[in-house]
Amino acid sequence: MYKKMYIEEGKISYQYYLGNGQFLMEVFSPQVAGRALPGQFVHIACGPALSTDPLLRRPISIHRINKEQGSIEIYYLVVGKGTELLGMKSAGDNISIMGPLGRGFALEQKAKKAVLVGGGMGIAPLLALAQELAKEGKEVVSVLGAASGAGLARAGAFLAYGKLIEATEDGSRGLKGRVTDHLEASILGNDTLVYACGPLAMLRAVAEMTGKMGVPCQVSLEARMACGVGACLGCTCVSTAEGAYPKVCKDGPVFWTSEVSL
């Protein structure tokens, strides 16, 4: 049988605090890294194995994939129990990760230009994507936004793969305003594909804009997850087709805007 998901005891090679509750962690996990694709995620056991609270794993996007080294990077924000416990880990600690999970971003598309739109922690899955698209020879434009400059701690890394537009709501870094205020120019013209990840309100705005302009667009969604593999039917979003609830963990997390009603 074709193996594509793994459960692996990953060893943390580093964990850096990036300020404002954000962490960047590298985990040595050769099996997961070996199969990982941009837009996929891992399911992480954040607490001690012997404790049943928190009970569930936490889904975290794969931020960067290093296949030669057999490692992945994750970029996350502390928002509750699980991520707080994750933030307490140090280099050398082991964590159980399941993955790679889900359907990632569509690759090898015809469009020559890719515009990556990331808001807040939505920036996380886009770095691996930028890297892959650059490898494919696409023109990559990353439009990354956050509430303030602190939220753009990882934006610099995107420069290696193409053009970078930064925006902050308070204007403390880059352009002032939301990513969607500064998007139109980048997606004008043919042969463009948009990939977006971020808060629902942002995704809605991006979907509307790309829809109007006739530009195809993929969005990466979030939902509370239990299994992460399509077994529990818990992590539903809403299909554009009547009466269907796609599963974010298996049918997504990446969807075409035409597939889901946001």
């Binding site: 049988m1 193996k3 594509k4 998901m5 793994y6 459960i7 056991a45 049943t52 609270d53 928190p54 009970l55 569930l56 794993r57 399941m98 939902a223 509370r224 997850m225 239990a226 299994c227 992460g228 593999v229 399509g230 077994a231 529990c232 039917l233 818990g234 992590c235 539903t236 979003c237 809403v238 009466g243 269907a244 609830y245």
Partner: protein, 307 residues
């Protein structure tokens, strides 16, 4: 050597470790992690006569040592199950046990009839305890009379072993258990989820799209063990114990309390390997305690207790 096989009435299981309905899809979602035919049985996601799209999201919420779910029996309907899913799993060397539901007694019967003729089905689990549907479900399992009626009618239309799944949301689970036994149930599954609710203090609204949901996971274990203890002493048919099993110790606890087999649900989510760990752990426990047949664990805590 420990004999790990158990019989639930006429239903033979090669070992007592099974996976719970609704937590293991239709049996293939976890195949990357281990071969599903290592399991004693697979209880499928709940199946109904017609396709059900389930409840609107959100459907999941984590609670202390537990989860609330309000899936609402999303499934493609019995015909699609038979056509698309059953062929993929019917040859697995494990007992395939569809979990069936209906809004009316008639619907339960129709589903049972359709499955009855199919090859590769070992038994049926009758879910009279789903808290997440408006009609049927838990309503049938909340009182002995309605429970009787479902079991009686389904019993008429199929010769398959029937495992009746009881609701914990009742004053007296023993009376429902006895009613099911009387109408010809071959075994009982104890327990389904506890009815619960959570409110998001930021939105100030219930977190689940369907408002209430079913509580499962380690949090409910003491309630589940208590009900297995009560039911197994009151009926003669075997009990499949479940509710919060997350390790082999929990499984042994359920068996000592009276379960002939155990079912693992929620714990598959954090730890997909849990069923195999439980299987190994039970066997080792038997060896260490000089027990040559796993069935001897069943009810040991009350059989040997001096009162």
């Amino acid at each position: 050597m420990v004999n790990m096989a158990v019989n639930l009435g006429s239903l033979y299981l090669k070992n007592p470790v099974t996976v719970a309905s609704g937590t293991y899809g239709f049996g293939l979602e976890y195949k990357d992690f281990y071969a599903p035919d290592k399991l004693g049985a697979i209880f499928t996601k709940g199946i109904t006569l017609h396709k059900r799209i389930g409840n609107p999201p959100p459907r999941l919420w984590e609670t202390p040592s537990g989860i609330l779910n309000s899936i609402g029996l999303e499934n493609p309907g019995v015909d699609v199950f038979i056509r698309d899913y059953l062929p993929q799993i019917k040859d697995l060397d494990t007992a395939i046990i569809p979990n069936i539901s209906g809004s009316t007694v008639e619907e339960y019967c129709r589903v049972a009839e359709k499955l009855d003729g199919e090859e590769g089905i070992a038994a049926l689990e009758i879910n009279i305890s789903c808290p997440n549907v408006k009609e049927g479900g838990m309503a049938f399992g909340s009182c002995p009379n309605t429970a009787s009626k479902v079991v009686k009618e389904v019993r008429r239309v199929t010769g398959l072993p029937l495992i009746v799944k009881l609701s914990p949301n009742v004053t007296d689970i023993v009376s429902v258990a006895k009613a099911a036994e009387e109408e010809g149930a071959d075994a009982l599954s104890v327990i389904n989820t506890l009815l619960g609710l959570a409110i998001d203090i930021r939105t100030q609204r219930p977190v689940l799209g369907n408002i209430m949901g079913g509580l499962s996971g380690p949090a409910v274990k003491p309630v589940a063990v208590r009900m297995v203890w009560q039911v197994s002493q009151a009926v003669k048919i075997p009990v499949v114990g479940m509710g919060g099993i997350a390790g082999w110790q929990d499984a042994v606890e359920f068996m000592l309390a009276g379960a002939a087999a155990v079912c693992i649900g929620t714990a598959n989510f954090p730890n997909p390997m849990v069923a195999l760990e439980v299987l190994e752990g039970i066997e080792k426990y038997c060896k260490i305690n000089d027990i040559d047949d796993v069935g001897k664990l069943t009810g040991k805590a009350w059989k040997e207790m001096d009162r």
